[in-house]
Amino acid sequence: MSDLSINPSYRSKIHPKKFALYTSFASITMMFAAFTSAYIVKQAGGNWLEFAIPTQFYISTAAILMSSVVLHLSLKGFKQGNQNRHKYGMIAGTILGIVFIAMQCSGWMTLVDNGIYLKGNASGSFFYLITLVHALHIIGGIAALFVALYHTFTLKFEATPQRILRYELTVHYWHFVDVLWIYLLMFLIFIK
């Protein structure tokens, strides 16, 4: 089915599917740029409640940074034919991704305990909105990792170009949502 998109050999610097994925990063970036711009505009309008960001959000940050590192190693392992590194890296990365979501949930609950509600002041509403929509993107990444896990455990270990590409797409997306989270966290820390 994908024969069609094979690049003519004389210009294949980057696989078109990878390029398409990077293009979609521009879209996602614009979406969060819109949220954060709206945040700044709303904040300038006054009536803005400041609150401390619960610790869980820093733990989740550590988790997702680590997950990116192990997934990177796992991808490298796949390319080098190191089955164990590939497999365990992927499992660890997926678990760390789930830890990220769990920590975000726990963080939201702490916020609620601290009296910061979705329905309350706009600062809280924005915090929930931005972290929630980001979490949805992480869940998408976890879903892709589950597909990758499924392939790892059901298919013979064989680093074909097609499978390397697939795993690369997954891991690169993961790095992107990771970096996106770092940006969002910095934004929420410094502009509050």
Binding site: F19, A34, N47
Partner: protein, 614 residues
């Protein structure tokens, strides 16, 4: 100088000069083209998907236009009984004891809202750029298909699903959304705000969110395809202007639609989860709501950050198509190719920094308005460059006045007429008088409604043989053109005067305004013109479907004697577009009347001593 060739044996040239991408070797059977369902319904072939977009676009265009006729009847003949529409509109026509039927005011608003939504998104975005980007990008850059045929298929089906949901919303008991196509809060944010704000708005939001997904999937694919799958020799500076236009259109979509999605998310939060991003100090039926601290202006910023690039998403493909059609049928190279490309890029860039000119009167800081005025007026520069180049292209050309060419010329006419009034509206001071009047309605209908339609018609007449292997009827095409051109001006020209007098848009009736009484006859005239133009469009639809089966058959591959690659493919379209090699490109797309040769297709190698024209 070598022997001058005026007709070309494409197969021989492609076999000798083309690029062998080994496509047919490792292509094991046609897995996803066999069987009716995979061929015509869940197709991944860009040519089929293009036709799907076009047919769906036509369907929506008829519905959207029919809606405009209904509200035009209300505006032109507010006193007349509309009881005869009862079988169609049911409870939205209220019949009193005397048998006089009136259109329910809330349904009037729903009609206006749906007309805008349908035409802007479903017809002029999906129907125009969806159709022609799909059809032409792979064919004109020499690719077998899109970068991801699967995402391309999904793009259409998300659009289709968005359409199904919107269509469903027309039939629910509270009616479709009725707060204007821009869906400003609070009408869009509070389900209790009006009849259409409940389920109608929910469906609207779901539908348009799916639509955003469709545009993004399509756009990502178009950009990737243009940048990665061009054939050998097809440098960016050799691409036809159509491709440049679709390319920039797709970039605009990729960057601006997500911002609309952000706005929609916040709107959904406000509607369903009780946040107050856009709401503050609202009273409904004397009751104060506990929603404080938000501002509807914020939504307007997010909406128009999409909304303005959106008008270029609509008009750029039409510009690209017009450039191509004018050049082919004037038998002349496009004038100022590089200037054309640069002006497309300039328009694309500027479209992102002018959005607040839709909000001059919404309470934004007038000092900030100044910046938006300046950037808005600067758009006149690349636009004027394009207009100048179009006119210069046909100047002194050996013009074939067929339907496609007529519509391309009509496009230029409409773009000039509508563009000039944009200069009025772009001034924040003049906008104090003009905003929200029929002047605005006239302006944007001419410049992005009718002009974009003209571009689309030019494209349909021109590439119809490529799509269906037959020609549309020229006679009917010409009647269609003249009727539409004259009719469209008859509808929208008078609206400028009405608008200058201050008649506000979106009003159900002007009965209680003495100042507007003298426009009664003019409004009748506009309504009659609109009805006539509507009937003429049905002629186009008839011509379109009749010609699929009964049109004059295409007997040669390149009936227009054009230079671009799509005309080197077989008459009977095949999967993968070219049966053997894909063409290699040796020249730009506009070698007409060069060195005494009538036209030189892009896949013809340069002869000795020949120089590239640009």
């Amino acid at each position: 100088m070598a022997e001058l060739i005026t007709t070309y044996d494409t197969d021989v040239i492609l076999a000798e000069q083309g690029y062998d991408d080994k496509f047919h070797e490792h292509h094991h059977g046609d897995k996803y083209q066999s069987g009716f369902i995979h061929h015509y319904i869940f197709s991944m072939d860009h040519k089929i998907i293009a036709r799907q977009f076009l047919m769906t676009g036509i369907f929506w265009a008829i519905i959207g236009a029919a809606m405009s006729i209904i509200f035009r009847i209300q505006l032109g003949y507010p006193e007349e009984s509309m009881a005869w529409l009862k079988p169609l509109l049911g409870k939205w026509i209220v019949v009193d004891e005397a048998g006089i039927g009136t259109l329910a005011p809330e349904f009037y608003y729903a009609l206006v809202t749906m007309h805008g939504t349908i035409l802007v998104f479903f017809v002029l975005t999906a129907g125009l750029s969806g159709t022609f980007s799909n059809l032409l990008i792979p064919l004109q850059i020499g690719a077998r298909d899109m970068a991801s045929p699967f995402l391309n298929m999904l793009s259409y089906w998300f659009f289709f699903l968005a359409g199904v949901i919107m269509f469903y919303s027309l039939f629910i008991s509270t009616g479709p959304f009725s707060g204007g196509w821009t869906a400003y809060p609070p009408l869009s944010a509070l389900p209790q705000a009006s009849t259409g704000s409940g389920t109608g708005m929910t469906l609207w939001l779901v539908s348009l969110t799916l639509f955003v997904v469709s545009v993004l999937l399509g756009g990502i694919n178009y950009v990737t395809t243009v940048l990665n799958l061009r054939t050998q020799g097809m440098t960016m500076w050799r691409m036809p202007l159509t491709i440049w236009a679709f390319f920039v259109t797709a970039i605009l979509g990729i960057l601006s639609f997500p911002v609309l999605a952000s706005g929609f998310f916040m709107l959904i939060f406000d509607r369903s989860l009780g946040t107050s991003f856009f709401l503050s100090d609202i009273f409904i039926e004397g009751q104060a709501l506990d929603r404080v601290g938000g501002t509807p202006i914020l939504y307007q910023h997010l909406f128009w950050f999409l909304g303005h690039p959106e008008v270029y998403i609509i008009i750029l493909p039409a510009m690209g198509i017009a450039s191509e059609v004018l050049s082919v049928h004037a038998r002349k190279p496009i004038f100022g190719y590089k200037a054309m490309v640069l002006s497309i890029l300039a328009i694309g860039f500027l479209s992102f920094i002018v959005w607040a000119h839709h909000m001059f009167m919404s309470g934004v800081n007038p000092f900030i308005s100044n910046f938006f005025v300046v950037f808005t007026l600067i758009i006149a520069v690349p636009s004027a460059v394009k207009v100048f180049n179009w006119i210069t292209t046909i100047w002194g050309g050996n013009v074939r006045l067929n339907s496609a060419m007529l519509f391309a010329i009509g496009f230029v006419s409409m773009f000039i007429s509508g563009g000039l009034t944009g200069i009025f509206l772009g001034n924040s001071a003049i906008d104090i008088q003009m905003h929200d009047t029929y002047f605005v309605v006239a302006h944007f209908h001419i410049v992005m409604g009718v002009a974009a339609f003209f571009g689309m018609f030019a494209g349909v007449y021109h590439w119809y043989p490529k799509m269906f292997g037959r020609f549309m009827s020229e006679t009917m095409g010409k009647i269609h053109f003249w009727g539409t051109l004259i009719g469209a001006y008859a509808i929208f020209w008078p609206m400028h005067y009405i608008g200058m007098a201050g008649v506000p848009r979106r009003y159900y009736s002007f009965d209680s305004f003495d100042a507007f009484k003298h426009f009664t006859e003019l409004n009748k005239f506009i309504t009659i013109a609109a009805a006539v133009v509507f009937v003429i469009q049905l002629l186009f639809v008839l011509n379109f479907f009749y010609s699929i089966w009964k049109g004059k058959k295409m007997t040669s591959r390149n009936p227009w004697e054009a230079t671009t690659l799509e005309w080197s493919t077989p008459i009977e379209p095949i999967h993968g577009n070219w049966p053997g090699n894909i063409p290699s490109v040796h020249r730009w797309a506009y070698d007409y009347n060069k060195d005494e040769r009538e036209y030189v297709p892009q896949y013809i190698p340069m002869v000795e001593g020949e120089e590239e024209d640009h």
